[in-house]
């Protein structure tokens, strides 16, 4: 009976309760939002900028107003780097109490895209910080901004959508984040600052990355605790940059990609730490790493200059390494010794010591055998190349040479590759060899490549001998014009003199080469290398005019075999892949001074130079279109014959 009464009592009470608690809960929540905003409001400042670029990116004008957050009593203010991409002339900060101050830009955290400003004020209100480990998906958040001309900051309400986003750099919210509140705080319902609102993108870096997601329900805030942790570095005026360690991974972009190293870049922190291709990263910064994404997330919280402990597995062996992240891996610039090595026989013998090169200056002489490099033994030209490539231009090396049975020690100061072709490159043809009975076809030939049913022509010098590997020139003609007659006329004497095989796959489309022609060219080259003895160190691709982009793509796709790229009248755009010590590649660019595109050709040369490839750039004056004059061809042949220079 007693329990029934209790139940009845409950039932009677239920309808009364139904409406009231709803409304009360809503009111309490609303009150909490307003209070949270009010608690932080005094620390939220308005930032106005004057001058600077008109547009940050096309279609995105540089606005005059943004928001900032006071982080120290004595006038340090943080904001999103977004607004300062326009490089304003003058920055002004207006406090919540309407006092105005001129501000100085102190430094920018380019990893998290946060900018630190300073105003000359004291006794400023500093907000409380919400600790990052307390962030929970689903909790209420308020995004505050002060871009409107108002007394209280603008409020956008949302929840935490994710706690570790953009490689660990940010907390994600569904509050509306846009240029109206970038730089303002993301606040929890207790009135503590969780982070600084900023556009970010997992795919790209830069001030404007992620702006396209404004007001979309996907917004980011950089945890304030993370910024405070590096505040002293920023205060010192030091820009903080993302850190890299200089590797690529064998699997890319897939969610479950394993962190097995593909390439370890020359002179990178990874290389210095002794990491090698095939190593698998299993831990970083004390955390287990199973996927590339996990590693990126750990590194996303680090800066250039930070030290990271990593554990790698090489087979069954475990390696513990410590490396210091850098902002940029310096491009590899090959060092130059200045010799042409002997092509046949044992040891690293100087066939020719190129005049005025580092070797010549150190007193190296033709026929000297290099037996040691910095006290490490050298037994072949290939080994010598490897040793030299591990050094930089400007560095010195102790070289031991054997001359007339005597050992001699020389000090060589390496330089960069000269931008000229050595004058005296004597042809290395042993013409006294008797004709070989089983010699394959020589002279001008035209063939149809099986499997592709496409044609190529070639010129095999009569001086070709099996025991004397020839250089190989892969000629790619522009569009509809095969240039066969002109090229053959110009090159025949050089092919004979220097032992160069010329092969010219024919393009079957008037519009020119297409990426799907790569396989055809590759197969032609493979066939020639199968039939003739070709010197691996002297294979180069040569193109005229509009075939240049295709020739360049071909060369970079086949870096394992192509050692030279010779482009006439070439216009390339974009950026070249970085140079790589393991795959030697040299460029020869030539162009007519009267070419309509002379400026663009010169810009192409600058682009190659910037990527630090050995480059020879020559111009010729020539009336009319057609193949370069004989003098240029002679130089090009000399260049080709010195592709194996060290």
């Amino acid at each position: 009976m007693k329990s029934l009464a209790a139940i009845l009592g409950w039932l009677a009470f239920v309808p009364l309760l139904q409406a009231a608690p709803d409304a009360r809960l809503e009111a309490l929540e609303e009150q909490a939002f307003k209070e949270a905003a009010a608690v932080v409001a005094p620390s939220v400042v308005r930032i106005e900028t004057v001058g600077g670029l008109d547009q940050i990116t096309p279609g995105l004008a540089a606005g005059g107003t943004t928001t900032g957050l006071i982080v120290t009593k004595d006038g340090f203010v943080v904001s999103s780097a977004f607004h300062f991409a326009a490089k304003p002339t003058s920055i002004l900060v207006t406090l919540a109490d309407s006092r105005r101050f001129a501000a100085r830009l102190i430094a920018t955290d380019r990893q998290r895209m946060i900018t630190l400003l300073k105003i000359d004020a004291t006794g400023l209100p500093v907000p409380r910080v919400a600790p990052r480990d307390g962030f929970k998906v689903g909790q209420w958040t308020l995004a505050l901004g002060r871009t409107f001309d108002t007394d209280s900051p603008s409020v956008s309400l949302g929840i935490v959508s994710a706690v570790n986003r953009v490689w660990g750099k940010a907390v994600q919210t569904d509050a509306k984040i846009s240029p109206l509140n970038y730089g303002g705080p993301l606040v929890d319902v207790q009135g503590r600052v969780m982070g600084i609102l900023a556009p970010l993108s997992p795919q790209s870096n830069g001030e404007t990355a992620g702006v396209e997601w404004y007001d979309s329900g996907i917004g980011f805030a950089v945890p304030l605790g993370d910024t405070l942790a590096v505040l002293d570095r920023l205060k010192a005026g030091q820009d903080l940059l993302p850190g890299v360690f200089g590797v690529t991974f064998q699997e890319r972009d897939s969610a479950g990609a394993t962190p097995v190293l593909d390439r370890v870049r020359f002179a990178s922190p990874a290389e210095k730490a002794g990491l090698k291709k095939g190593d698998r990263i299993v831990a970083a910064d004390g955390r287990v790493v199973r996927f590339v994404a996990e590693l990126r997330s750990i590194l996303g919280r680090k800066y250039a200059g930070d030290e990271v402990a990593m554990t790698a597995k090489r087979g069954e062996q475990k390696l513990d390494v410590k490396l210091t992240l850098v902002d940029k891996i310096p491009p590899f610039e090959p060092a130059y010794l200045g010799i042409l090595p002997q092509r046949r026989g044992e040891g690293a013998v100087a066939r020719i010591v190129l005049p005025e090169g580092p070797a010549a200056q150190a007193g190296l002489k033709a026929k000297d055998t290099i037996t040691a490099w910095n006290d490490e033994p050298v037994t072949s030209s290939a080994q010598l190349i490897e040793r030299v490539s591990r050094q930089r231009p400007g560095e010195s090396a102790a070289v031991t040479v054997q001359r007339d049975g005597q050992n001699e020690k020389l000090t060589v100061k390496l330089s960069g590759y000269p931008e000229t072709v050595p004058d005296q490159v004597a042809a290395d043809i042993a013409s006294t060899d008797a004709p070989v009975p089983d010699a394959p076809k020589t002279g001008r030939i035209t063939e149809t490549l099986e499997g592709h049913d496409r044609q190529y022509w070639a010129y095999i010098p009569e001086s070709y001998r099996k025991g004397q590997p020839a250089a190989l020139m892969i000629f790619l003609h522009p569009g509809a014009d095969s240039m066969e007659a002109a090229v053959l006329r110009a090159w025949k004497p050089e092919c004979e003199r220097r032992g160069i095989i010329l092969v010219a796959p024919l393009c079957d489309k008037p519009a020119g080469w297409m990426p799907n022609d790569l396989e055809f060219v590759q197969d032609v080259v493979a066939k020639v290398r199968e039939e003739y003895a070709v010197a691996d160190s002297r294979i180069f691709v040569h193109s005229v005019g509009s075939a240049a982009p295709f020739a360049t793509i071909y060369a970079f796709r086949n870096r394992a075999i192509v050692r030279g790229v010779a482009l006439t009248g070439a216009v390339l755009r974009g950026q070249l892949p970085e140079n790589d010590p393991d795959e030697r590649l040299q460029f020869h660019l030539s162009g007519s001074l009267t070419d309509k595109q002379a400026t663009a050709i010169k810009a192409t040369a600058d682009m190659v130079r910037k990527a630090r490839y050995p480059l020879v750039y020559t111009t010729f004056s020539q009336v009319g279109e057609g193949y370069p004059p004989d003098a240029t061809v002679e130089e090009l042949a000399r260049w080709a014959d010195s592709l194996d220079r060290i």
């Binding site: 409406a19 409304a23 939002f33 106005e48 008109d54 003058s90 900051p153 309400l157 240029p179």
Partner: protein, 348 residues
């Protein structure tokens, strides 16, 4: 120990909050508020429907006899419009009057005993963070007897909308609520914004883009701005406002004064955002007497930020002889304020 000592204080705080709540809001939940407000909002169909002009909109009832407030727009271009009530009843509506400076129009349908808002009552004022509800026939999602769509959000800001320097191409300038929700979309203009307990706050504005940030602005015109005009149109006493006291910053705004009139020679204006740097101050001029110096960067004229040399010419051009004008300059890292009286200009 500390916790125990604090406990009574916390209880007290809670009581205070609850008291505030009871006083502030009627004990009405969001669900109840929506049920009460929805029938007062109507769907309007009129001119348009071709190219990019949609032929539908929203409005709200302000009398039992069928007075409907909506936004002044191309939908009203025809002689009549079709008004569909919450219960699917269709009426022919005609425009009773309009106030273009408020972007306001009042329609009339012939009906009786309709649920409506009482616009004679003062409307509450709410601040940022306050929960609000927006009612409108956005994208004409509601058909026939379906109630209009409700969107919830909070007040983001109370601010003043001005079309100054083309930041906004707003038809209306004056105080607005900015809503933290995407309330202003096709067909939403003319709908209502209420508190979460259903009290009328204002009328949803049109779609509006901030020309500087390229972001969309969801604004609402507060009832306090509209009440007088609505009542006047309803009672037939309405006379459109004079437009001469409006803020006139249109491209054709007068330029009565140039910087030189104050003794300021500015750096040549070579790019569109050349900052307003003082190149030279003419001796004996008001600027020289006030203490303005070469290389000062002029940042404010009055309360207005001067983002470029062009903006400075606009600001100075607005002044009238005898005005007291305050300018703020940046000299090094110092902000310095100068005040002077606008000189009488000799007519040329």
């Amino acid at each position: 120990m500390i916790f125990q000592m604090l406990a009574p204080i916390r209880c007290l705080a809670l009581v205070v909050i609850m008291l505030t709540v009871t006083v502030e809001a009627r004990a009405q939940s969001t669900a109840e508020a929506i049920a009460e407000v929805s029938p007062k909002v109507v769907k309007i169909f009129g001119a348009g429907g071709r190219k990019n002009l949609y032929g539908y909109g929203s409005g709200f009832l302000v009398s039992a006899e069928g007075h409907i407030v909506t936004v002044w727009s191309h939908i009203l271009d025809g002689d009549t419009v079709t008004v569909v009530l919450h219960d699917g009843q269709r009426y022919e509506g005609r425009v009773l009057g309009a106030e273009p400076t408020l972007d306001l129009a009042v329609l009339k349908i012939d009906a009786e005993g309709l649920p409506h808002f009482d616009v004679t009552k003062p409307s509450p004022t709410v601040g940022p963070g306050a929960r609000v509800l927006a009612f409108s026939n956005v994208f004409k999602v509601a058909t026939g007897d379906e109630p209009v769509s409700v969107i919830h959000g909070v007040i983001a800001a109370q601010t003043t909308l001005s079309a100054r320097r083309g930041v906004f191409d707003a038809p209306y300038s004056g105080p607005v609520y900015v809503v933290d929700a995407v309330t202003n979309n096709s067909g939403a203009a003319g709908g209502v914004l209420t508190t979460r307990s259903g009290q009328l706050l204002g009328m949803l504005g049109k779609e509006l883009k901030n020309n500087t940030t390229h972001t969309w602005l969801n604004y609402v015109v507060p009832m306090s701005q509209l009440q007088t005009a609505i009542t006047e149109i309803q009672t037939g006493k309405f006379a459109p406002r004079k437009t001469d006291d409006q803020e006139d910053m249109s491209p054709g705004a007068p330029r009565r004064y140039a910087p030189r009139d104050f003794g300021l020679v500015m750096l040549p204006d070579v790019v569109t955002r050349t900052p307003a740097y003082v190149d030279r101050v003419i001796t004996g001029s008001p600027a020289a007497e006030a203490g303005v110096m070469t290389d000062d960067l002029i940042l404010f004229v009055g309360e207005h930020l001067v983002s470029s040399a062009r903006a400075l010419r606009d600001e100075l051009g607005q002044l009238e002889a005898g005005d007291r004008v305050k300018i703020v300059v940046r000299r090094g890292d110092q902000l310095i304020t100068f005040e002077f009286t606008v000189p009488r200009k000799t007519m040329e």
